[in-house]
Subunit: 410 residues, 2 copies
Amino acid sequence: MKTFVLTIGDELLSGRTVDSNGAYIGKQLSGVGAPVKSRATVGDDVAHIGRVLLSALAEYDIVVITGGLGPTQDDVTVEAVAAALKVPLVTNDEVLSGIEARYREWNRPMPQAVTRMARMPEGTVVLENLWGTAPGMYLQADHCHMFLLPGVPREMQGILDESVVPIIKALPGLTPVHTRAIVTAGISESALAEKLADLMPPPGSPVKAAYLPGYGGVELRFSSIEDPEALDRLVDQVSERIGSHYIGDAAREDLVGHVARILVERNETIATAESCTGGLIGKLLTDRPGSSEYYLGGVVVYSNEIKEKLLGVPHVTLSQHGAVSAQTAEAMAAGARDRLKSTYAISVTGIAGPGGGTDEKPVGLVYLGLATGKGTFSREMRLTRDREQNRLRSAYAAIDFLRRKMEAHI
Amino acid sequence: MKTFVLTIGDELLSGRTVDSNGAYIGKQLSGVGAPVKSRATVGDDVAHIGRVLLSALAEYDIVVITGGLGPTQDDVTVEAVAAALKVPLVTNDEVLSGIEARYREWNRPMPQAVTRMARMPEGTVVLENLWGTAPGMYLQADHCHMFLLPGVPREMQGILDESVVPIIKALPGLTPVHTRAIVTAGISESALAEKLADLMPPPGSPVKAAYLPGYGGVELRFSSIEDPEALDRLVDQVSERIGSHYIGDAAREDLVGHVARILVERNETIATAESCTGGLIGKLLTDRPGSSEYYLGGVVVYSNEIKEKLLGVPHVTLSQHGAVSAQTAEAMAAGARDRLKSTYAISVTGIAGPGGGTDEKPVGLVYLGLATGKGTFSREMRLTRDREQNRLRSAYAAIDFLRRKMEAHI
């Protein structure tokens, strides 16, 4: 089964948008034995889309198209596909009434343009879009299975996972790929590679391995077509070697999910006190449903005055050690734990950059703080000159700091 | 001048790596009048690379290839290009001694594999790589200008900016593309399309237009090769028609930047009180450097008890109207403004989902609150069933709620 991915949109070519959909589709389809062999990106141009599509139909078994399904004049994917396949465009009444119902539910007038999203090439099977308005579409032509998906990543991912993957899985002639993935935290890709050097399979092995670095930690992915037992054995060995950096099976939980699960199991709670991360830790802790079970709330304290006022950081601590110090980080955490009556509180104070650094306290200097029933703790980090990276890395590091202390029952 | 971009690498197809190079190249080359018309991604496969390259040479004036120039066996781009062009591979002695000199400088033994990076198709002009080892390459074939660049983003960007862009700029026959972009807020893509229907250029016009929806608002992009005056006229007309949804020129600012600029100009400050957004508004307001000039801090209040305790939301308000109500949103904003002594405070309380909804207060029901020197205000929103979308949309909507009141001096 050979798969071709076509992503459509002028904004992808002009560089206004980075195409993250191509990678997501590649990841999901290689997992079910339909690896992507080639990808193309073209603009919102009926003739160009048609040319690329016709040559792909001749060569591939599966074609996934994303983008250009919206309500506006520059969304021409459906026209282009219908023209290339020489089938008429028809309005799907069921989809149209679904769209009308949504607007009624929202109590908003439905713009006429929206009805464009109910048009599709004759013979299309509709793939439900629970995350937006434009439906996904499934067509068969010349022994090729063709999927049309919206370009909005959230909608594309939802329809791909819920509808496209199950359809592809049911196709005859697929070779299933066995995959396992491990989440780690608090260790860099190169340190991990050194630690695991003798365990990792050499090129040509029946098991393949790959490192996937992210701000929350490095993910390790393993796959095998022939040998699921060797795969499981390797994952066990690697997991053991990783030690305290091991978080869990990626299919079950990531760092935040891991911490959340332990908090809920122990019936414990957390609060946050943030300076340079500006609310990011709270945002990460509440990204998942049910976060009110363990997250009580937090305080974002950008100025010294507010640090004193909302968190009770002693004036003398700020004047003697400065806002970016281990002492302030611990006082922030203690203040949040005290005021919010949580089991734990974590804090971050630092110089995210690009401005604000000095010789003594350069950009990238960050202190993590933690308050538990047994005392307060802090950790110094020296990060980069990049603001976004510094904020993300320190937010995740604060959550991992809590995890280590929780797991050690401190 | 038509440009084709070919990105090479198994990791791009399997989804291990998101291809950010394609977007960067698109942005830089559209700026110099050589817009990218099409992009393709293939794996590290000599035959496949050759096929795609030959068909691109027939159709395009400029071809930019990235990836597969490294030292390992799976880096086959140079072989593939030489084979497709039917020219021999030669070792460039100057590049080879450069590589050897680097290793001497680093005081590290040079692995034999590294010498592969000095091989190139006969007739290649070397493009210096100051950021890594593999050089860039420039070849001409069949009236087509071809550039080979490493896949590591920093190296690719460096060689593109320092060598490729100057070469392309000097080519005869370039037509500069004029572009303008407008940021809007608080209006959906389809409502905007309806509002602008009669102004927007029909297909085939000298000015092209595109809608780019995002959580912060829809961006409108306009471009013209021949007619910059028509472009400016259209942008003026559209900007006026958009009315209070108009934020500004995208080259200058987005919604948050717009609000930040006005706050700084007026020497005013803001504080946040968040429930379901969990810190996201604070995070968005502090994404940019210098945010301490206008953002004082905020409070994330997930439980009712904390809403009372940290923000002074009256117990009777919570018990009579509930945590998700206009009254609570206003009390949260007033409490934050009072405690943080800011000019304005914005708040969000709602049911982000997927759980927690009732018939009376369904998932997606959100209240925005605002406190100014003149009073407190609130706005009800009915969003979707998707947690992530609801959080992002309500966070940006709260910032836009402030913008409108600020611009009206309320």
